[in-house]
Structures are given as C-alpha cells and as structure tokens.
C-alpha cells in the first residue's frame, strides 16, 4: 500500500485524539468520583443508581417517621406509667380509707388527695408531644379532657355538689371545687404513619380508650371512689344496696389492669418499631453499599487505567514527532 504524508499525519492526529478522549473520560471519572455520570455510560447501572438513591431517600423518610412514632409512643408509655403509679397510690389511699375505725376528717384528707390525683390524671391526659395532644385521637389541636367541677355542673345542669354521708348527714357543697365529670373533645381516631414500604402502624392510643371507655372507666372509678370516701361508705352490708369504698377499690384495680394492658400494647408497638428501625438501618447500609459499588469509581483501577493511557499518549506523541521527520528533500543537496 502506498503511504502518503497526509495519511501518516492524520493517523497521528486520530490516535492522539482517541487517547485524549479516553483520558478525558478517565479524568472525569476520577474527579467526579462516579463512573456513571449520564445514562449513556451504563444504562442499567444508571437505572440501578436511581432506584438505590430513591430507596435510600425513602428509607431515611421511613426512619424519621419511625422516630416520630416512637417519640409519640414513648411519651404515651411514660404517661401510662405515671397513671399506673397514681392508681397504685389511689389503691393505698382507698385501703386506708376503708378502715372502719378512721375518723371521717381523716378520710376527708384522703379524699382531698384522691381529688388531687384526679386532677393529675387529667393533666396527664392533656399531655402533648410538640404541638400535638397525644390522647385526643384525630383531634390533636384541642385540649382533649375538660374537667367539670361541682359548681359548674350545678350552674349548667342544676345538680347540686352535695353528698349524703353514711350516717345520714348532708354534706353540702363538698364537691363544689372537685371534679365531678370529664368531657372528652377528642375522638377514637388512630393516628397512622408508614414506617416501611406498605407497613402502616398506629402510634397513638386515643384517650377515650384509656380514660373513658366503658361503664367502670378510669376517671369515673376515681370520682366514685372519692365520693365513697367522702361519704364514709366503708361498711360492707349486703342488705344495703349501693357501693362502698371497697367495691370502688375493686373497680380501680380493674382499670389499673387495663392501663397495664395498654402499656404493654404500647411497649410491643415500640419494640416492633425498634425492629423495623433496625431493619431500615441494615437496608440503608446495604443500599448505600450497592449504590457505591454501582456508581462509584474504583480508584485503584481507574488510576492504573489513567497511567496506561498516559504512557500510550506519550508514545503517540513521540511517534508523531518521528512522522514529521526527514523526507527525501533532506537528502537532496
């Protein structure tokens, strides 16, 4: 084959161009740290990269959802713990008050304390996480429990805040300042959040469930117990219809059991979230690994590639210098 000057020079230029474009690509990979910078570089890899990134974003969101839900639940747990402490105290007090030999004044003091404890229960029921009331069901912006005191009840419904003592004496206005009824403005809504793809969990216990559910509910039991203490109904008399301190004590025990049941339910949910969180963490690590393996530049390999390309380039250049060397003209003198 005939070889002409133009062929040789264009060959050299082509080769240098090719080498340079390869080096450019390698440099790009090194400086960006990723080997897939446009879908063209590796369509399947690019698609995988996208899906890993989306999954990682999603996992991060699920993790924050789980943390929020756990906060809510742990606050609920603490509240339930406080309530069960209160109920224990109420129990002790009731046992004391049921002692028949006690003076009524001593019982009244106990009644006062129970009264305080009812107030406390209600303030626990009105607890908040951030700006949200935890026991309001879906109604998270209004105070869920409103205490109605004897005086108010009298003004509204005409029910007098009086009680009749076991001895038959009228104790006028004794409940004037104590809570006789509780109004719940929340509902039974279950707050839900997504903690993993397709896994939706409830993270609240509506206050109505804990405090006001059923005939013998927590607040009513406490109110009735207090009233029995004020009324001094300590004597167990089968003939006599009605309740006594001891009977109400039994109800308080039952509600304590209920609270414990809710507490263990909350605990179980927290453990479930813990497990999910753990799994999310593992998933995130494995996704990040996969992402890095798919899109990140293998530095060692790429640098050695670059070195090879550099030496090829150097050779091309030196060949170029030789091509443009002597012609016949140099010898025709």
């Amino acid at each position: 084959m005939r070889v002409t000057n133009k062929m040789m020079s264009s060959n050299v230029v082509n080769n240098i161009q090719n080498n340079l474009s390869k080096m450019d690509k390698t440099n790009d990979r090194l400086s960006k740290g990723t080997k897939i910078n446009t879908p063209q570089d590796d369509p399947t890899g690019a698609v995988k990269t996208m899906s890993y990134k989306t999954t990682i974003n999603e996992i991060e969101k699920f993790s924050t959802n789980a943390v929020n839900a756990k906060n809510f639940l742990s606050y609920t747990d603490v509240s339930l713990g406080q309530i069960s402490d209160i109920l224990q105290r109420v129990r002790e007090l009731a046992v004391q008050a049921s002692t028949e030999t006690y003076e009524q004044t001593a019982r009244d003091a106990i009644g006062e304390e129970v009264n305080e404890l009812i107030d406390q229960v209600i303030s626990i029921g009105n607890g908040k996480v951030g700006d949200r009331f935890i026991f309001g069901g879906f109604n998270t912006i209004e105070t869920p429990f409103r205490a109605i005191r004897g005086q108010e009840k009298f003004e509204n419904d005409g029910v007098k805040p009086d009680l009749i003592h076991a001895t038959g004496t009228l104790r006028e206005g004794i409940n004037k300042n104590s809570i006789v009824e509780v109004e719940y403005s929340g509902d039974e809504g279950k707050l839900i959040t997504e903690v993993d793809k397709g896994i939706v969990i409830e993270y609240n216990v509506p206050g109505s469930d804990i405090f006001l559910k059923g005939e013998r509910n927590l607040i009513d039991s406490m109110i009735r117990l207090r009233d029995q203490i004020y009324m001094g109904n300590t004597v167990e008399d089968i003939a006599k219809v009605g309740t006594t301190v001891n009977k109400e004590l039994g109800n308080v025990d039952k509600t304590l059991d209920e609270v414990m049941r809710y507490r263990s339910q909350v605990g179980a949910r927290m453990r479930r979230i813990d497990q999910i969180e753990e799994r999310l963490k593992d998933n995130k690590i494995s996704m990040s690994n996969l992402l890095s393996r798919t899109q990140d530049t293998d530095i060692t390999e790429t640098i050695s590639d670059l070195k090879v390309q550099e030496s090829v380039q150097r050779m091309s250049l030196s060949v170029g210098a030789k091509v443009i060397q002597p012609t016949l003209m140099d010898f025709l003198r």
Binding site: M1, R2, V3, T4, N5, K6, M7, S10, N11, N14, I36, T38, P39, Q40, D41, D42, P43, T44, A46, V47, T49, M50, S51, K53, T54, N57, E58, K61, N65, N68, G130, D131, R132, F133, G136, G137, F138, N139, T140, I141, E142, G186, D187, G189, L191, I192, T193, E194, K197, G198, V200, Q295, T327, L328, M329, L332
Partner: protein, 621 residues
C-alpha cells in the same frame, strides 16, 4: 541528416517540462481537501519509415489523469451519510440526557422524592401550617420541574426543526453549484482534455452533500448525475430544488420536505437530515409524551385522593393540582366520529377485600306491576362471569374473587386500561398512553359484574366506533387529556388549609365519606404519599416509570455512541485506503521531480549533441 533530431529533443524537453509542472501542482495541492494526485500519461510518437517501419520521433504528454477509486468514493458517500446521522443523534441524545439530568441529585425524580417526603411529613403533622406550606412549596417545585423539562424538550424539538430548514437551504445551494460544475466539466472535456480539478471539486461537494442526506452518484461519460432518495437531482447543468412546507394541523406544523417541481415528499433515508428528523419526530416527541404521562398520572391520582379527603376546616377536598385539559368525548379521528373516553368511574362503593362478592353486590330490585303491587326480587350476581375490555376477555368467580383480585386480573391481562379502586371504594378504569388515552370497547359476556359496580348499563356494551354506545357507560367519565399536560401542570392549592390531609367517615351509608375527621388525621395525606408505590402512571409505579424512561434514553444514547464509534473507525479506514490511492506522497513527488529534471537535462544535452552534429555538417564538410 535532417533537423528531425532537434524536433525530438524539443518534444522531449516539453514533455518533461509539462511533467514537472504536474509534479509542482501535486506538491502545492498536497494538503488540499479532496485533492487527488495527478499522473502524467506519456506517449511515444513514431513516423512511418519506408524501410524500418515505425521510427520513434520522441514523446508527448497524452493526458493528465487523476488517481481516484470510484468504488471507495461510493462507499464513502454511504458511510459518511450514516456517520453524520449518528453524529447528530449522539450529540443531541447526550443533550437530552443533560435535560433529564439523571442519575444526579438535581432531577425530577429527586424533586418527586422530596414531594413524597413532604407528603409523609404532612401525614404526621397535618395540624401544622408550616408542614402544609412546605408541602405546597415542594409541590410547586415539582410542577415547575416537570413543566420546565417538558419545555426544554419542546424547545429542542423546535431547534431541530429550524436546523432542518437550514439544511434544506444548504442542499439546494450545493446541488445548484454541482450542476454548474457539471456543465463546466462538460465544456472543458469536450475539447478532449480532462477537468481533473473540477472533478475533485465535484467529488468533494458530493461528499459534503452526503453528510447531510443520502446521495447516489452516477458517472456517465463526461457527466455526473446525483440522486437523492431515488430521484435524480443533478443532471447536466440542471438541478432540482426541494422546499419546506408547513401545515398547521400536521405534525405540529413542522417542516416537511417536498420536491419543488413534482410536489411530492422527499424520501430521506440517511444523513444528518435523517438524524434530525428522527430526533424531532420520534425522540424529543417521545420524551415530551413521557412527561405528559407523568403529569397526567400524578394529577389524576393525587386529585382523586385529595377530593376524597377533607381539609383543615373539615371541608371536602378539591383539586390538588390543576386538572389537565381534556379533549371532547366525541371527536373526529380520520373523518370518523368516535367516542374517546379516558376515564370511567363506577358509582357503587365496594369493600375491595371482601369475599364473596356475590353477597356484597346482590341487591333487591323492585318492580311495580300494572295493578300497582310492588314485587321485589333479589338480583344476585352469578358465580362465574366473563367480561371483555378492549377485546380481551376476563373471567371471574364471585365466590373466590374479591374486587381487589378482579382489578389485578384486569391489569394483568394487559387490556390497555388500568383498573383501580378509588379511595371511596369505587372502581376506576383509565386508558393507557399506548391506547391514546381512550377505552376502545367494553361488554359483559356472562354475568353482570360490570353493571353491578356501575361501570356500564346492564345488557349493553360499549364500542368507541359507535358514538351512541357512549350513553351505556357510567356517568362519571372523562375525555382524553390534551397534549402538553406537563407544560401546564400547576398546583391548584392556593390556601394551604385546603390540602385534604384528613379522611372522613360515612354517615349516610353510600360508602362515601361525608363527615370529616378532626385535623389531627393525616391518613389521607398518607394515601397521597403512598401513591408513590401505586401503579398511577399507566401500568407503572413512579419508580418503574423513571426506570423505563431513563433506560430507554440511556440505551438509545449508548447505541448512538457505539454506532458513531464504529462508523468513525470505518471512515478512518476508508479514508486511509483513499489516501493510499489519491494522496500526494512528497517523497514520490521529489523522486518524480528528479526524474523529470534529469529527463529535461538529458533532452537539452541531446539537442546540444544534435546541434554539434549539424555544425559538423555545415562547418567541417
């Protein structure tokens, strides 16, 4: 003794002189693009001698030829056309990759991810205004991102169109110039010589033309013919122009190429022009349609959920995104009136997981008789049934299938429609993009499930070619979306309180929630957030959708890159072969120069000798 010797010497000198001129011409054009080296063809002359026969009387230059291989030239024309087509594709597909900007963190996918996150945030804090505001901002970022991507593809498409127009002008001026050269060649060569440099110029122009469009060249005698797409465009000194035509109602009013004289479209098979036409009519349009598909899926699904929920004030939700514009449900396609329904919603709410369906959907039908008595019968759903959507049959069993399962069956059957159950428990059927967003047919072959759930009237069927059957479909239906839904996509919510984060309860018993839950309920927002993993874009989830779009783009771009690389190698190879044939080798020219110089010198020496001989005759005798 005669003066013949002097004549021989003179001819020899002239021949060598001419040869050395050609060498000079070769040297000076060595680096000219498209130049083919010229060769001197010498001829020895002779006289008829009575005794010796032919007696040599020196030499002359017969003709000056160019070293050229037309086989390689023809190959080159073809490969150059293919090369420039892939070149155009490679550059512009790369550009499209930059528009979608994957797999970076500044893509629609990322903005969409952030939108889902904001939706999740809302589901956790629906009572918090700042969460609502941030969701609104994210939603606006999303609609901006979708519409600006659409607009970028649209602008790119318009660029392709104006480029095509420029190329057509280039083609016309090139073919005119070629016709001119053709006539010059004919005039020059009519005298018997060779128009080497003109032919070089012609060949170079053909090659440039072949980069734009597929060209065939014919060589007949001293004339070239050039044809494009099977039609001769340059013959003798005539050339034929092509022109641009735009029709408002055809292909977006883009340039169509027509022959000026016969009023027929130009057949374009290759070259940059073909590349640009493909990019304009197929690629960029395809990605614009993808964006539309994304917008339509997102708008429709989100609005359905938002409408089923309740806002901060307990009012039923409205549009979250501005709904897309729809085409009329009855319209003309190819001069035929057809019914085009994109979306159909049944009017009966069903518990989607409940089985058997038979009980859920059995209803009491009361018929008032002539005598005024009312007789009621229980209309039960038969156990086994079949219905047909877009010509594909789907069988069901009311004993075992729940509504959810039937929806799944429809979707698996690839009928061209996607079925789903809306948040209020009613079945929704939407036509897919591939079906131009309209439902083709629907009928019940056995059993009455479709009419029980209120999609179609009992005992009737729907066929899009018969407009009257449109009335058989459910009232709640929607026409196909107008093109450009992505460009017009915007957030409808102006007051963030109107985002329907809460669900409600049904107090009237029609399966549709009518009483709002209090503001702390974020379950409707959660439903909007979980649309992420639902098949809301035709048959696809968002992730599947982005995957298919990006792998589509990546693969075509990679293909273009590979084809271009191969084509470059092929062309370099051909160019090498051609240069081997026609290229000027300076060493060779130097050697020739010396050769001709010595020839010239020797001829001069010969003349001197003949002269001496003549002198001898004149002076010494």
């Amino acid at each position: 003794m005669s003066f013949n010797g002097l004549e021989v010497g003179k001819r020899s000198m002239t021949t060598n002189q001419q040869a050395i001129n050609v060498t000079g011409h070769n040297i000076s054009n060595a680096n000219k693009e498209g130049y083919s080296r010229q060769l001197v063809e010498m001829n020895s002359l002779s006289n008829q001698h009575p005794k010796f026969g032919a007696v040599g009387i020196g030499s002359e230059v017969e003709q000056i030829n160019r070293a050229r291989n037309s086989f390689i030239d023809d190959r080159m024309l073809k490969e150059k056309a293919t090369n420039s087509k892939w070149e155009a594709r490679e550059i512009n597909l790369k550009h499209m990759e930059y528009i979608v900007n994957e797999p970076s963190d500044q893509s629609i996918r990322r903005v969409l991810d952030e939108y889902w996150e904001a939706m999740q945030d809302l589901s956790q804090n629906p009572e918090d205004m700042s969460t609502r505001v941030s969701l609104k901002e994210r939603s606006e970022a999303l609609t901006n991102s979708i519409s600006s991507t659409y607009e970028r593809f649209e602008a790119l498409r318009a660029d392709f169109d104006s480029n095509i127009e420029v190329l057509v002008n280039d083609i016309n001026s090139m073919t005119r110039r070629m016709a001119e050269i053709n006539s010059q060649i004919r005039r020059v060569e009519a005298g018997g010589g060779k128009a080497n440099d003109l032919r070089d110029e012609f060949d170079l122009l053909t090659e440039k033309l072949s980069e734009i469009v597929n060209v065939k060249i014919g060589r007949k005698g001293n004339e070239y013919t050039v044809s494009i797409g099977g039609r001769t465009v340059v013959q003798g000194d005539f050339s034929k122009d092509m022109s641009i035509r735009r029709e408002q109602n055809f292909n977006n009013g883009f340039a169509q190429l027509y022959w000026n004289d016969i009023d027929e479209p130009v057949l374009i098979q290759d070259g940059k022009l073909k590349g640009l036409i493909e990019l304009r009519d197929e690629d960029s349009t395809k990605y614009m349609k993808y964006m539309d598909q994304l917008a339509i899926g997102l708008i429709d699904a989100t609005n359905d959920v938002n409408r089923a929920g309740f806002d901060y004030r307990g009012v039923a939700g409205g549009e979250f995104f501005d709904d897309f514009e729809t085409l009329p449900q009855i319209r003309e396609i190819n001069d035929d009136e057809v019914a085009a329904v994109f979306k159909l919603r049944g009017n009966i709410a069903i518990d989607k997981t409940r089985r058997p369906l038979m009980e859920t959907l059995s209803s009491e039908v009361s018929v008032t008789k002539e005598d005024g008595t009312v007789e009621s019968t229980v209309s039960e759903l038969k156990e086994n049934g079949t219905f047909e959507i877009n010509g594909i049959r789907i069988a069901y069993n009311t004993e075992f299938d729940s509504m959810e399962r039937i929806v799944e069956k429809i979707n698996q059957a690839k009928t061209g429609v996607v079925a789903s159950i809306d948040p209020n428990g009613r079945m929704v059927i939407k036509a897919e993009k591939e079906e131009d967003y309209f439902i083709k047919s629907m009928s019940q072959l056995e059993g009455t499930l479709l009419s029980k759930i209120g999609l179609i009237k009992e005992g009737s069927s729907f066929d899009f070619r018969e407009v009257s059957t449109l009335d058989n479909l459910a009232e709640d239906r929607k026409g196909a979306p107008r093109e450009g839904a992505a460009r017009r996509m915007s957030v409808a919510i102006s007051n963030v309180e109107n985002i329907a984060a809460a669900r409600g309860i049904d107090t009237t018993g029609d399966g549709i929630a009518n009483k709002a839950n209090p503001v702390g309920d974020g379950s409707n927002a959660l439903l909007m957030a979980t649309l992420k993993n639902e098949k809301s874009i035709g048959r696809f989830t968002y992730e599947e959708f982005f995957k298919s779009v990006i792998s589509d783009l990546g693969i075509s771009s990679q293909e273009a890159k590979k084809f271009l690389e191969n084509q470059k190698v092929l062309i370099t190879n051909l160019e090498q072969r051609r240069q081997a044939e026609q290229g000027v080798s300076l060493d060779e020219e130097m050697a020739n120069m010396i050769k001709y110089q010595h020839g010239y010198n020797a001829a001069a020496r010969y003349i001197k000798t003949v002269d001496d001989m003549v002198k001898t005759v004149i002076e010494k005798l």
